[in-house]
Structure formats: C-alpha cells, structure tokens
C-alpha cells in the first residue's frame, strides 16, 4: 500500500527537530533510517501528520571511544557499525549482533539509535543495549538527560522517550581484557526478527564470571533481563541457570511459536551463550 498523506520537514539540528516535533496535535514522528517506520507507514499501521527527517543533522553519527566509554551516535548506520574496527574492539557484542539484523540493504540505511528508540521487542539492538548496561543520551524541550537501558524500555514499543525527545547517542562501557560477550538467536529465515534471542555480557575472571547480564528478546513486551539465571551463571552453574528461566521468563504465544516453545528455545540459547561467555576472551 501507499502511506497516508503527511508533511515532511528536514531538521537542521537537534534543537530544530525538537521544535518541529512540538506540534500541538502531537502527531509528528522522527525519521531516522526509516527501515521500520516507512514500512509501517506503507502498511498504514501508522499515519503521522508530519515526518521530521533527522538525516541531515550533523554530529549525530560516528563512534568515539573516550574515558573508558564507547559513544555511538544515534544516526550511525548498522553497516557503519558492522565495518567499524572500534565497534569490533570496544563493543564486540554489537559486532556479533550485526549480521543478524535485517539484510545488507536494510543495514545500509537503518540506524542504531532508530532501532533502540523504536524498541521492537524482538529486535537485536535494544537487547544489546540492555545487556551492555548502556546509557542513552536524550535531548528534549527541557534540555538533555541520560537514561540507563534498565530504565529505558517501558512497554511494547514504549520507552523513556517523550513525544518531543530525540535520542542522540548510546554510551556503553568500552570492552576490556576481562569483557566477555555472547549472542545467539533463532529466526525462521536469515534477517527475520528473532523467535527468541539472547544478548549477554559478563566480566571474566579466570574461570569465573561476574557482572553477568542476560538480555532476552522476542519473549515479552520489551527486551528482558533474566536475573535469576544471571545469578546462577555467575555461580558457574549452567543447568541451574537454564532452570531459573522458568521463573525469569513468561513468553506468550505469538505467530512464530508457542510460549512453551520459546521457553525451551531460551534454554537452548542460554547454553550456547554460556559457552561463548566462558570461552571468548576479547582482546582490546
């Protein structure tokens, strides 16, 4: 189908974008990579009155490493992150996730900030942000603020972003020699949204794991931490971690799989990811 009519405006700066978003009817949407938004417009699942295009705004893309943190501009394209040696070295979890996101043409346009702001519960990057304990920089009508990933994802496609806010950057602790990462997902076809997926980070100390963060996607309304499983995995007990998923996760049936199947798959993924966490050493 074709989108319902809307007006289009090119934002010149983040401030200009916030100004343009501040319409009294609240029916303006930000356009970043557009790889989800334009699809929903084409299907008329969404019919905003105004699209505010961020693509011409300078200073919103690129990767910088400073003060032990890797800062990724919200407008950084997936393909740029996929090719980045800084991402491979300092944010290896995102490098692991990249090949699973859409297809080459989608990754050429889609942005990291757009994916996190859209917050599809079955998407890879929101879960990566959660697993990495990311900080999300937001600019809004009242100024700038930073929200932790643990507080960012509120509900189905709902985040800490208000209707007049712009996500400007994602900051994550840069990987060190102790950093361990794991990523796995099940999808019916390459590039599809996952039936179930798991993004994980931890600190490795010899054979022991600390600061384990397991972020599942495709199992609820938001990406979800499996906190009891994290504790069990930190204790080195993979079987107990898999058992703990019974209380950590309660996935609903959807068009792809029943809740019971998803729960089973979550355990299979946990075993795979646990192996990655215990074996992979990142050498920055």
């Amino acid at each position: 189908m074709k989108p319902a009519p809307f007006a289009y405006a090119r934002a010149k700066s983040v401030e200009h974008a916030i100004e343009l978003l501040a319409r009294p009817d609240g029916e303006a949407r930000l356009l970043a990579g557009g790889q989800s938004l334009i699809a929903t417009l084409n299907m008329r699942l969404s019919a905003p009155k105004l699209l505010v295009d961020l693509n011409g705004v300078g200073g919103l893309s690129g990767i910088a490493v400073k003060g032990g943190m890797a800062e990724i501009g919200a407008l950084t394209r997936h393909a740029e992150a996929e090719r980045s040696t800084d991402i491979a070295r300092y944010v290896p979890l995102i490098a692991l996730a990249m090949p699973h996101i859409g297809h080459a043409a989608i990754r050429n346009r889609g942005t990291l900030g757009g994916s996190i702001a859209f917050a599809d519960p079955a998407a890879e990057l929101p879960a990566c942000a959660l697993a990495l304990g990311a900080e999300l920089d937001i600019a809004g009508p009242k100024g700038k603020r930073t929200v932790k990933a643990d507080d960012f994802f509120k509900g189905l496609f709902e985040t800490a972003l208000g209707p007049h806010d712009v996500l400007t950057a994602i900051r994550v602790p840069a990987a060190t020699a102790e950093t361990r990462m794991g990523f796995a997902e099940f999808a019916r076809r390459h590039g599809d949204y996952a039936m179930v997926g798991l993004a994980a980070s931890a600190k490795g100390n010899g054979e022991k794991l600390g600061d384990v963060r397991l972020a599942y996607f495709g199992v609820g309304n938001t990406p979800m931490r499996a906190k009891k499983a994290e504790a069990a995995l930190a204790g080195g007990d993979v079987d107990a971690a898999v058992k703990a998923l019974v209380t950590d996760l309660d996935p609903h049936d959807d068009v792809q799989a029943t809740g019971a199947t998803k729960k089973h798959l979550a355990g299979v993924l946990l075993r795979r990811v646990a192996r990655q966490l215990m074996l992979i050493r990142v050498s920055p």
Partner: protein, 162 residues
C-alpha cells in the same frame, strides 16, 4: 520547510533531475511513475522482498523504505543506469548463461545487490553470497543458479575462469 509537496534536485543515473514530489511518495514510486524508470520493481512495499533495490550515494537501499523527498542532493542509480554503463555486463551475461532468472521480476534487485558484494573485490564463499542476497526474494529459481552466477563472476573478475 514542512510541506505535503517537496521540490527535489538529484542525479538519477548521472542526469540531473528537478521534480516536485508528494512528501509521502517513496523513492521507487518516484522512479517508476515520474521518471518512468520501470526496471525497479515493486513487490511487498515493506522492505522484505528486495524487488525495489536501487543505489543511493553508492549504497544499495530499499526503494520502498526511502522517500523521494529524502533524496535531495543524492545520487541515485537504478538498474537502467548500471545496465547502460556496462558496469554489470558480465553479471548479466552470467545470469543468462546459468538460467539465474526465469520471470525476471527479482532480477534487477538481485543484480544490484550482487554487484555491491562483488564490488568489494573478494571472491566470497557461497555461504556469504547466500547471506548477502538473503534480502532479495526469488520465487522461480530456487537461488542455486543465482549463487552459481554470482560466484562465477566473482572468480572471473579475480582472474579465474567462468
């Protein structure tokens, strides 16, 4: 500027174009309807099938997931452009030789996507080829012949035999 209609200037296959478009018009609709470049096809209109693949500023994108209004100042290349320039003549010949197309609906998108992979200059593995074209659906061939054709061209460009 905030309008239901937008004036845009861009180059399409090397030619400068000035047009007025509806803000809601997708790039592929603009190319097909306003410029009558009908080689880019429209399949699913939500980014799944890859039939609308075109190049914008050198990168393959979904023509249905980009607005024409976003192409102000851009360089857009379609199958007509890369075909006329001879850039993909060897790929087109290999597709024909190996029956890598039947109805041809997916072929323009498939060729542009394959060309992006081959332009890296490496000879990709068959697995890598399959991964790269995974966003382009073909309902006729079963893909095997397409992978054969792309692999043959990769090897030929690297100095081997087809």
């Amino acid at each position: 500027m905030s309008d239901m209609r937008c004036d845009i200037s861009l180059t399409v296959n090397g030619e400068t174009v000035h047009e007025t478009v509806d803000a809601r018009q997708t790039l592929v609709d603009f190319l097909r309807e306003q410029l009558v470049l009908t080689g880019s096809h429209i399949g699913c209109e939500h980014g799944v099938c890859g039939a609308c693949t075109v190049r914008v500023n050198g990168l393959v994108v979904r023509g249905c997931l980009m607005l024409a209004a976003q192409c102000e100042g851009a360089s857009v290349e379609t199958i007509e452009g890369v075909s006329d320039s001879g850039e993909i003549a060897d790929l087109q010949a290999a597709f024909e030789k190996r029956n890598a197309l039947q109805c041809g609906f997916c072929t323009p998108g498939m060729l542009l996507t394959a060309q992006e992979l081959l332009a890296t200059g490496h000879v990709p593995s068959r697995e890598k080829i399959r991964e790269h074209i995974s966003g382009n659906y073909c309902r006729c061939t079963g893909y095997h012949a397409i992978v054969d054709a792309i692999e043959a061209v990769a090897k030929a460009r690297a100095g081997g035999q087809t």
